[in-house]
């Protein structure tokens, strides 16, 4: 009985931290626990959640994707110009295709040429960012159609549309990774690629598809991003790479492959967004922001480790 309770706590340690954070912030700031603020936080977390899903999948396959932010920028910049000059649908399709393409190239460099994921995606990061700069030539594209803006900044019953979109993507990805043989093979590939290959799984295809999916998610996030901000420029998304790694790890997907998963990452991304929200509300000097995130992460590790020791 007692063990079960602790096991539960351990499994949901991240969730507990989230709850503690919520309680603490509600007590500290009256503005925190309001409908609009919570809706805001969820809307703000959405894009991070989407890109972090891609990062999580890459990390589950024992890789990493440093190009997420740049692929996001490149695909959304090109999409933006088409959306402005031609049609919304065509822009979206091309944007998604570019994401898919960049991701697939990453996957191919990793599997067929044998580059490590870090190097392949690090190189892609430079290239995609550079191409975005070249394409935009330092200018910005702004002022999109109402219809397009709805995806990123619309609201339904006061709740950002983004939230619904993220829920949809989450359901799809959870199903894909936890409930299908494809998902199982992703985890197997991440745990032991050789044994998985020898068990008859086309592991190259697994890795390429994961990175392609990754690129696609980055492109989706990019489209929502420009829709939300009503502008596209080459430098967007720079912070997404590091933040998505952080959200993945805080959520509890470790490096080393084969463990964790997208369901945990939601938690990590929301915790990170809440921290920023809380600090803004409490007017903590921006100098302390990175440290606060650091402290909270370390704290969560402490809680997790102590409960683990308690269990044994």
């Amino acid at each position: 009985m007692k063990h079960n309770a602790i096991r539960f706590l351990l499994k949901y340690a991240r969730f507990m931290i989230l709850i503690i954070l919520l309680i603490a912030l509600s007590l500290l700031s009256p503005a925190f626990l309001t409908f609009t603020n919570i809706a805001n936080v969820l809307g703000q977390a959405s894009l991070l959640i989407i890109v972090s899903y891609g990062m999580t999948l890459a990390i589950v396959t024992k890789g990493i994707d440093l190009s997420i932010g740049s692929v996001l920028a490149l695909s959304s910049c090109i999409a933006a110009s088409i959306i402005k000059s031609q049609s919304i649908i065509l822009g979206i399709i091309i944007g998604l295709l570019i994401g898919l393409l960049c991701g697939s190239i990453n996957g191919i460099m990793i599997t067929k040429i044998g580059l490590t994921p870090f190097i392949a995606t690090y190189g892609m990061d430079w290239i995609a960012r550079g191409l975005a700069y070249v394409y935009m030539g330092g200018t910005q594209i702004y002022g999109f159609d109402k219809a397009f803006r709805f995806f990123g900044s619309g609201q339904i019953m006061g709740i950002p549309v983004l939230v619904f979109e993220v829920i949809f993507i989450t359901v799809v990805l959870c199903f894909l990774t936890y409930k299908t043989t494809y998902g199982r093979n992703i985890y197997a590939t991440g745990s032991n690629i050789k044994a998985t290959r020898l068990a008859g799984v086309n592991t190259d295809r697994m890795v390429i598809s994961v990175f392609a999916l990754n690129g696609l998610l980055a492109a989706i996030a990019g489209l929502l991003y420009i829709s939300r901000l009503n502008a596209a420029e080459a430098l967007i998304g720079t912070d997404f790479t590091l933040n998505s790694i952080a959200a993945t790890l805080i959520g509890g997907t470790p490096f080393g492959g084969g463990e964790g998963g997208v369901a945990r990452t939601v938690m990590g991304a929301i915790i990170m967004t809440l921290l920023i929200n809380g600090m803004n509300l409490l007017e903590i000097s921006s100098y302390w922001q990175t440290a606060t995130v650091g402290f909270v992460i370390l704290l969560s590790l402490f809680i997790e480790n102590t409960s683990k020791n308690f269990l044994v």
Partner: protein
């Protein structure tokens, strides 16, 4: 040393050295003024700070781990040293205080990762944030300006036309090369990175090895921070940010992969030189940043592909040799 011996030593160098040679040859042909003594010194000087941080990063990666906090440790140590200098504290003491503060970051990293078995990425990432905040808070976000010339000599002085910064970086590099290839501690780092369980089963105190390595990494980062401050003659609280990724890149380009236990600092030094040469060369060609961006990515990937193919070729040749 005889000629044959030199050749033998050269052959031991990581294959990536060819990558460096090719880049130098390329820019030598395409960019005016590239192959001048002054420019070579420039490149080395520009590489020297990166070399020093990358050495620490390489040790962490050899452990099979990583140290994300090196960049902000650089900043923190830099501003602490800067503040001390402005308070009139003597140069050696100011450096010691700065390094001591930096080693606290390493101490926390090492303790939590080595003894408490916390995830290395999360710990060093958190400390990256904490060190960054501390640097900003103690300076109130502002740059600490100008120091006197004896301090500046470290990063910016010259001896017979050779910048002092290069000499210092070289001395540190030699020490770390020696440490990693010729001491028990160095060999233990490889063992822990190769397989922690094997190391433990062989009687190595793996926690201690991890602990010491992280302290060393933060000390090297700290020293790089001081070199940087001396070179730019001012201490900026965000000066080191971004160095962690460059250091990782230098390490990986130099042939030390993430899984740990293989590779070495020698390759990293070449890796850092490749990055510095690339940036310098592209500047010398007068290319605009967008094009530079794209080219940096392409060239890094090309170099690594070249290296991977080279390794494959070597492996194949080795296989054929076994036939005999």
């Amino acid at each position: 040393m005889t000629y044959a011996k030199i050749i033998k030593q050269l052959k031991k160098l990581p294959g990536i050295i060819y990558g460096l040679v090719i880049i130098i040859a390329f820019f030598g042909v395409t960019a005016d003024y590239f192959l001048t003594f002054m420019n070579m010194m420039n490149i080395l000087k520009q590489a020297s700070v990166l070399i020093v941080v990358s050495l620490g990063m390489t040790l962490a990666i050899l452990l099979g781990k990583i140290d994300m906090s090196v960049g902000s440790t650089m900043s923190l140590v830099g501003v602490v040293t800067g503040i001390c200098l402005h308070k009139g504290i003597s140069i050696p003491l100011a450096i010691c205080i700065g390094m001591a503060v930096g080693s606290i970051i390493g101490f926390i990293n090492g303790y939590l990762i080595g003894y408490r078995k916390f995830d290395y990425w999360i710990v060093t990432f958190s400390n990256m944030g904490i060190a960054q905040s501390l640097a900003l808070v103690i300076t109130n976000g502002a740059t600490i300006p100008g120091f006197d010339s004896s301090f500046r000599f470290l990063g910016d002085g010259q001896i017979y036309g050779v910048p002092v910064g290069i000499l210092i970086a070289m001395a540190i590099a030699l020490a770390i090369i020696y440490l990693s290839y010729n001491t028990k501690f160095g060999s233990n780092i490889y063992a822990v990175g190769g397989n922690e369980q094997v190391a433990r089963y062989s009687g190595i105190d793996t926690s201690k090895v991890i602990f010491k390595t992280y302290i060393l990494s933060s000390l090297l980062a700290g020293f790089a921070g001081i070199l940087l401050v001396s070179k730019v003659n001012s201490a900026n609280p965000i000066a080191g940010s971004g160095y962690e990724f460059d250091a990782i890149a230098a390490t990986l380009i130099g042939g030390t992969p993430f899984d740990g236990g293989r590779g070495g600092v020698l390759g990293t030094i070449i890796g850092a030189c490749i990055i510095a040469t690339l940036r310098n060369g592209l500047n010398m060609l007068g290319l605009t940043p967008p094009i530079q961006f794209t080219l940096v990515g392409f060239i890094i990937i090309l170099i690594i592909i070249f290296d991977v193919l080279n390794e494959k070729y070597k492996a194949k040749k080795g296989g054929a040799a076994n036939e005999a």
